[in-house]
Amino acid sequence: MEIRLEKFSKSFGPVNAIEDMDLAIGDGEMIALLGPSGCGKTTTLYAICGLHRVSAGRIWFGDREVTHLVPQERKVGVVFQSFALYPHLSTFENIAFPLQIRKESNADIERKVKDIANTLHIEELLGRRPGQLSGGQQQRVALARALVRRPDVLLMDEPLANLDAGLRLEMRSEIRRIQRESGCTSILVTHDQVEAMSMCDRIALMHKGKIQQIGTPDEMYHQPKNKFIAGFIGNPPISFADGVVEDGRFVAQGLSFELPDQIKGASVSAGQKIAIGVRPEYLQPDFATAIEGEVTFIESQGREILYDLKLGGGQIFRSIQSSEQTCKLGDQIHWGIDVNSVFFFDEQGVRL
C-alpha cells in the first residue's frame, strides 16, 4: 500500500511541530524517518496512524484518503517505543487482541497467532506475561501484535531504542526480514543513522519539522543537499571549514587548494564565502591535495584509527585510516585530501 502525505502540517497550540510536509512512500517500501530529538518524527507517525488529528493537509493510503479516519479504520500496525504490551494479558492474548476485537473465530485466532509466533520465533513464550519477558522478547511480541491482522502499513517508533547493543544488531536484520516477508509498507522512526542506513530502502531526514532530503542511504551519504544532512549522516562525522573563493581557489587560513572544475564552472564568484566538508575517509596520508597540521587526538577503534588534525587556522579535520598508526600525538604532518570528494556549501549551507 502506497502512503502519501500532502502538505501535512501539525501544530500543538502555538507550536508548529510539522509544516507542509510532502512524503510519498512506495508499496512495500521501508523508509526511515531520521532526525534529532524533537524534530517531529513521532508526530508524523501518530498522524499517519490516526492518533493525532492533522492541522492541515491530507494523508492517502493508495487511492483512499484517510486524513479524517479514526485509527480503528486505518489498518495500521504500530510498534510503540515502549512496546506498550498489555501487562495483564499473556503473550498469546496480547497477540490475539486485535483479532478478538474483530470477533474472529477462535480457530482462526489460534491459527494466526501460532503462525506469526512461528515467524518471530516466540512460540515458547505464548503462555507468559509481558513482565516475564526480556526486552528483545517483548519487542518481538509487540511486532507480532502489530503484524497479526496483516496491516497495510507498519509503523515503528524507535523500536530498537530500548534494547542493548547486541540485541539491536540482531533485531535490525530480523525486523528487515519480517518486513520483507510480510510485504508491509513500513516506516521506521529512529534517531540512529546506522539503524536507518542499514535497515531501510530510503531515508527521510527531518529537521525542525521539515524533511531536508529523501533518498537512499547511498544518496544521503554521497549527495547530501545541505550542510545539516552532511553533518548528520556519517560516523565519525564530517569536518567543516569556512573560507572564501579567490582566483578559482578555496582559501582559508592554513589551507588553500584549486577548486575542482565542476565547482569553478558553477556559480561561485571571487570573494564569495563558502564552506567545505571533508569526510574522514577522504583525508589520508597519500592523497593529492596536501594539507599540513598537528595531530591532536588519536583513538584506536580496533580495525581503524581515528585522528584529529589541527590546521594552521585552528580548524579540526578528522581522518580515519585502516593502516597501522604512523604518527603520534603532537606530530606535525603533511597529509592530503581528495578534492573531488569534498562537499562545497554556500553561505546558507546549500550544497553547490
Binding site: Y46, C49, G50, L51, V70, P71, Q72, V76, G77, V78, F80, Q81, S82, A84, L85, Y86, P87, H88, F97, P98, I101, R102, R145, A146, R149
Partner: protein, 274 residues
C-alpha cells in the same frame, strides 16, 4: 512479600504497642458471655443471656436482623455506587479533555476535605423535599455522594499511572474507546478498585451520623443506630447486652478486614500519584 524474613524484635514491639487494643477486644468478648457485677472487673460466670437479642426483640428497639440486613444493603449499595461512578469519573478526569476539567478536580478535592456534618441540615431538608427522608435509598445516596470525592480522586490517581501508549495501542488494534477502557485499562487498576470497594464498604458499615438523622425509624435503622439506641435507652442499663451487640457489630468488619487487608494496602501504596 512471602519470602521476607520475620523481624522478631519489630514484631514484638508492634505486639506490645497494640496490646491495649487486643486486650480490649478480648475483654469485650469475655464480658459479652459472662455475668459480671457492675463494680468488679472480673467476670463471674458464663452466660449466653447477653446474646438474647439474636433470637428475641429487645422491647422498643426492633429486630437486630432487620438492622443487619439494612446495614448490609446500605454498605453494599454504597460500594456499588462509589465504585461504578468513581471508576468512570476518575477515568474521564485522568484521560479526557473537557471544559472546566481543572476547576472540577479542584472542587472534588475541596469536597473531599469538607466536613460533611456541616451539610447535614441542608441534606435533611432536601431529602424531606424530595420525599426520600427516612428511606434507605435516601441515606444510601447521601453516603455515596459524600464518599465519591475521595473515590474519584483515588481512581484518578490509579488511572494516571497507566501509560498512554497502552491506550494508543488498543485503539490501533481496533478497539473502541470504551473497549480500551474496559478491557485494557480497567484490569490494570483492579487493585485500586478492590481497595476502594473495601474502603467504602467499611465506611458504609460504620456510618452512624447520617442514618441516625436521616433514617431513624425502626424499619430503616442500621446496626450503628440500633446499638446507639440501646445505649441511650434509660430503662435499659444492661452493659452485657451492649457489649454483645457491639461485638456482633464489629465481627463482620474484622473478618472482612482479615481477608482483604493486603488489597487495602494498595490504596495507600500504589496509586496516589495525583
Amino acid at each position: 512479600m512471602d519470602d521476607r524474613k520475620t523481624n522478631w524484635p519489630l514484631t514484638l514491639f508492634l505486639l506490645i504497642v497494640s496490646a491495649p487494643i487486643l486486650i480490649m477486644y478480648v475483654w469485650l468478648f469475655i464480658d459479652s458471655v459472662s455475668e459480671i457485677n457492675i463494680e468488679s472487673i472480673w467476670p463471674e460466670k458464663f452466660t449466653l443471656r447477653n446474646w438474647r437479642f439474636l433470637t428475641e426483640e429487645i422491647p422498643g428497639h426492633g429486630s437486630v436482623w432487620t438492622a443487619t440486613l439494612n446495614t448490609t444493603i446500605f454498605a453494599t449499595s454504597v460500594v456499588a455506587i462509589v465504585v461504578v461512578l468513581s471508576s468512570t469519573a476518575g477515568y474521564a478526569l485522568s484521560r479526557l479533555k473537557f471544559p472546566f476539567r481543572a476547576p472540577f478536580l479542584g472542587i472534588v478535592l475541596l469536597l473531599h476535605s469538607f466536613p460533611s456534618v456541616t451539610l447535614i441540615i441542608s441534606i435533611f431538608l432536601m431529602l424531606r423535599m424530595i420525599g426520600l427522608y427516612d428511606t434507605l435509598v435516601g441515606v444510601i445516596l447521601v453516603k455515596a455522594a459524600l464518599e465519591l470525592p475521595f473515590g474519584i480522586w483515588i481512581m484518578k490517581g490509579f488511572y494516571d499511572t497507566v501509560p498512554w501508549e497502552i491506550e494508543m495501542a488498543g485503539l490501533q488494534d481496533g478497539a473502541s474507546r470504551f473497549q480500551v477502557w474496559y478491557k485494557l485499562v480497567l484490569p490494570q487498576i483492579m487493585p485500586g478498585v478492590a481497595a476502594l470497594a473495601i474502603f467504602s464498604f467499611m465506611a458504609g458499615w460504620s456510618e452512624f451520623v447520617l442514618p441516625l438523622i436521616l433514617a431513624p425509624s425502626s424499619d430503616t435503622r442500621l446496626l450503628s443506630v440500633y446499638l446507639a439506641g440501646l445505649i441511650i435507652d434509660d430503662y435499659l442499663s444492661d452493659f452485657g447486652l451492649f457489649k454483645a451487640v457491639g461485638l456482633f457489630y464489629v465481627v463482620p468488619v474484622m473478618i472482612f478486614y482479615l481477608f482483604t487487608q493486603d488489597k487495602l494496602m494498595n490504596i495507600y501504596g500504589g496509586g496516589t500519584k495525583g
